[in-house]
């Protein structure tokens, strides 16, 4: 296999410099030291935190150097999320603190929206301004006309504020742009979701099946650690991906599927498992309903049928089905995480859930474990009044299964011509860059023009902050206390985040921001503790520990109340579904007019000369939020477009050549992007890493670097079940000259 070789130095830094000439290192790549470094308590050599670079929330330690400045971050050995090892993003989290481009002062817009002309304001003035506008909106349209878009650990504070204000329009893009279909599909099948961190027992699995899920490029820490242990133990890994992902490179079987046909493969595997009697008969009889209907439903979905759709050889489909059966119940058909692909995503994940049920992996070692979560005492605050109008009333009858507000529906409701049930007039956007997160950027911008108030809370000048009326600079996770981490895991646990340094510049913690705002809105009783740390100490004392103790340990792990990580032999499990059983056939979906059993419907294919746009993750970045981080930009500062050599040949493209990408609706990338000619991608698709191509000039490292996939996702395939935004139905072609200059005059 020497014919086609490709060699890439992923981190192409710093080597051979003298030989290569000295022009290689630009002074600009050195640390820009912050204007006003915060003071640090030199007595504390290390302080606990949990990471906020992604949302796996690993607990770790922040170390300071002898000068008392933040030096490095490492994992906490006691923590189940990370086992003492942070991922590259978490290790590079120091760059979030040191980034010289951070927001420094509250800003109030002085010119037309989007022109990015602001003046600096005091916190008091900025918050007064926000409170005044919020009250105006409430008196004119009702408090429900305020919507909150939020992400990350600061969400708790902003959610309390907005609920207290009287609105339930609180959306996390991690639902409808990411995990929502998965959560609803598992909920419909097992009555329970898979949580974050996922309750996937990768550590003990004998067969791991990844469907488009690229662990290893997606660095969710616990999963990659457990996958690596699994590789050591010789676990069979089956990866389904049109791209030869890193995980595919570690797999016994790689299924190079034609994109958008996963559901056909899943149905065919289901066929094989049922008709060869590979399924866990005892488990299915005891715990499942709807087996006969399922059996009848998949009767014709043979591997030969699937071959015609997926291009996967029938033999490969048979072999991999047998591998799963041999490992059963220690087999894990991974539910994925970012699953909003084609608009039938809830149904696709239902097929995954059904497969796991047939293999008996739910509640079993090597499949899915039962999570344990620590519950904290909650302070006495007034009851939230029930909002007069709910998110569902914006578009009655739409997305009936959605269990939380759908961010794209809130955005659509902000545009009056969509005839929403009631107007949305104010947005509070906390720690999420909606212009990178939500597909169809022109639609989001149109919505923004109809707002009376747009408040952006962030640590960085992201694209969304450029459109805000008021910008509130939050300090980073390294400079603040936050809610205690009580995420579900194998054992119940609490983790503490405390500041390692004082907030830099004039930035403030989210708790302080929301509490001050609550005072101006007459809602102070919802924030009874003056400081977040007082609340934490109160909660920790109720939990039998204290803030002082937690400052020393960072993490406290408890034993499970019962030894019930997995179902006991013959345990009578009552599932929290309508029937109390695992619902292979979903009566719930049927009632609502959706397919009770997943069906395969063909998706549109790329037109001649166009390629399906597939996007994904690089291990050193979390979406667009890290691409300006000095440490992480140093590891990867631009993306490139992966092109199969056959396609490159047709177009005459070479590696490192700059091209612009144009989609089926004539949307073009803002900047050119480098081509990477590689056998690792199918000829009918191209691939780019999400999060690049920032258009905000204040992001000095990320501005203009690479291409934004979001810019090219103008066609959104909305999941009718729960409102998820399917983003893989866009097709792109190459422009080899700068747009507008293609035709020589």
């Amino acid at each position: 296999m020497t014919s086609r070789r490709e060699f890439i130095k992923i981190t192409a830094l710093g080597v051979g410099a003298i030989a290569a000439g000295t022009g290689m290192y630009k002074a600009g790549r050195f640390f820009a030291l912050p204007d006003k470094p915060g003071k640090v308590d030199p007595d504390l050599t290390r302080t606990p935190t949990y990471c906020e670079v992604c949302f796996w929330k690993c607990a770790g330690w922040v170390y300071k150097n002898p000068e008392g400045r933040i030096w490095k971050i490492t994992g906490n050995e006691e923590d189940q999320h990370c086992n003492g090892r942070f991922c590259p993003r978490g290790t590079g989290g120091v760059g979030m603190y040191y980034d010289g481009d951070r927001l420094k002062n509250p800003l109030i817009r002085v010119e037309e929206r989007g022109k990015q002309v602001f003046r600096e304001a005091s916190w008091d003035e900025a918050l007064e301004h926000v409170a005044g506008k919020m009250k105006n909106i409430a008196s004119k349209y009702g408090p429900e006309s305020i919507a909150l878009f939020t992400h990350g650990s600061g969400s708790a504070n902003f959610t309390t504020l907005v609920k207290a204000f009287g609105s339930g329009n609180i959306a996390e893009p991690s639902y409808a742009q990411c995990r929502g279909p998965r959560d609803e599909a598992f909920f419909a099948t097992f009555g329970e979701e898979v949580y974050s961190p996922e309750v996937t027992d990768i550590r003990d699995t004998k067969c791991l099946v990844l469907i488009g899920s690229h662990i290893g490029e997606n660095m969710h820490n616990g999963q990659i650690q457990e996958m690596s242990d699994a590789i050591d133990k010789g676990t069979t890994i089956i990866t389904v991906d049109p791209r030869f992902s890193t995980a595919a490179g570690k797999s016994k079987y790689w299924l190079p599927i034609k994109p958008s046909t996963d559901l056909a493969l899943l149905l065919s595997w289901t066929h094989e498992i049922i008709y060869n009697e590979y399924y866990d008969r005892k488990y299915v009889e005891k715990y499942c309903t709807g087996f006969d209907k399922l059996k009848e439903h998949v009767k014709d979905f043979t591997p030969e049928w699937a071959y015609g759709i997926t291009t996967l050889k029938p033999d490969l489909i048979r072999k991999t089905a047998r591998e799963m059966a041999n490992a059963s119940p220690a087999v894990l058909v991974h539910p994925g995480r970012h699953v909003t692909w084609y608009g039938d995503d809830t149904q696709r994940i239902r097929a995954i859930a059904i497969l796991n049920a047939l293999l008996g992996s739910w509640g079993r070692r090597g499949g899915f474990y039962r999570p344990a979560k620590f519950s904290l005492a909650q302070p006495d605050i007034p009851k939230f009044s029930e909002p007069a109008r709910l998110a569902q009333d914006l578009f009655p009858g739409k997305y009936p299964v959605a269990s939380s507000a759908v961010s794209n529906a809130l955005i659509d409701a902000t545009i009056p011509e969509n005839n929403p049930g009631y107007p949305i007039k104010g947005w509070i956007v906390n720690a999420t860059n909606l212009l990178s997160t939500i597909p169809n950027i022109p639609n989001t911008l149109k919505a923004i023009q109809n707002l009376d108030l747009l408040v952006a809370v962030d640590t960085m000048p992201m694209e969304i902050t450029g459109w805000a009326d008021v910008v509130l600079p939050e300090c980073t996770y390294l400079e603040r206390y936050d809610a205690l981490r009580v995420a579900p895991h194998r054992k119940p646990a609490i983790a503490l985040r405390m500041p390692a340094a004082e907030p830099m510049n004039n930035s403030k913690p989210g708790y302080w921001i929301t509490r001050e705002l609550s005072k101006k809105l007459g809602l102070a009783s919802y924030f009874p503790f003056e400081k977040q740390e007082d609340l934490l100490d109160w909660q920790l004392k109720k939990a039998g520990t204290s803030l002082e103790e937690m400052k020393k340990s960072g993490v406290k792990t408890f034993e499970r109340e019962q030894d019930d990580l997995y179902f006991a032999e013959d345990e009578n499990v009552v599932f929290p579904t309508d029937s109390g059983k695992i619902e292979l056939y979903s009566g719930y979906f049927e009632q609502l007019g959706f397919d009770p059993l997943p069906k395969y419907y063909p998706h549109e294919e790329p037109p001649e000369g166009f390629y399906r746009l597939i996007y994904g993750r690089a291990p050193m970045h979390t979406f667009g939020r890290t691409t300006n981080n000095p440490n992480l930009a140093d590891l990867m500062d631009e993306n490139c477009v992966w092109v199969n050599p056959k396609v490159a040949n047709e177009w005459g493209l070479k590696t490192d050549q700059l091209v612009w990408l144009k989609n089926q609706d004539d949307a073009v990338t803002d900047f050119p992007v480098k081509v990477r000619v590689t056998e690792r991608i199918r000829w009918d698709s191209v691939y780019i890493v999400h999060g690049f191509g920032h258009t905000g000039k204040q992001l000095s490292r990320a501005y203009g670097k690479g291409a934004s996939d979001t810019r090219l996702i103008t066609r959104v395939l909305v999941d009718p079940v729960m409102g998820g935004t399917g983003m893989r139905g866009n097709f792109v072609t190459f422009l080899t000259r700068e747009p507008g200059k293609e035709v020589a005059s």
């Binding site: 050195f30 490492t74 090892r85 440490n631």
Partner: protein, 177 residues
Amino acid sequence: MRYAMAVDTKKCVGCSDCVVACQTENNVPIGFCRDWVVETMAGSYPQLEIEIRSERCNHCANAPCVRCCPTGASHFDTGGIILVKQNKCIGCGACIASCPYDARYPHPDGYVDKCTFCVQRIRNGMPPACAAVCPTKCIYFGDLDDPNSDVSLVLKKRKFKTLIPEAGTDPKLYFLI
């Protein structure tokens, strides 16, 4: 005592955590690195193979950089680790040119820098920062003269290779294959 490191290419995912952990641990200025990741791919769709390696100074037993250093700044230290005495280094770059692995870079403060196996950590009984952080646990470190060290044990169990063996440098960085 002979310090050595082995990197498991079957587990490494090329995430570059080793790079950033080294940079923060050792205050390597941004824009430079002491370790890096290389990925090689062979075959054609869909018959493909990739190998991913975390690379750094090989701490060669027969080190051209030490041989060519005019001031003795590059030297063998305890356990065969190759170190650069910053105050003796004149930044002439001969060692950079002589290293077959491109492992050295000119530090902006005027001396040549490279991987030290985190000498400040290993002297205190801690593994190098890259080995300590790696989420895939693909980096094994220890003393080849101790048959029970992590590195000795894994080299006994697994097939391995070194890079550019024809250079005759006798590297102490092994890749498990």
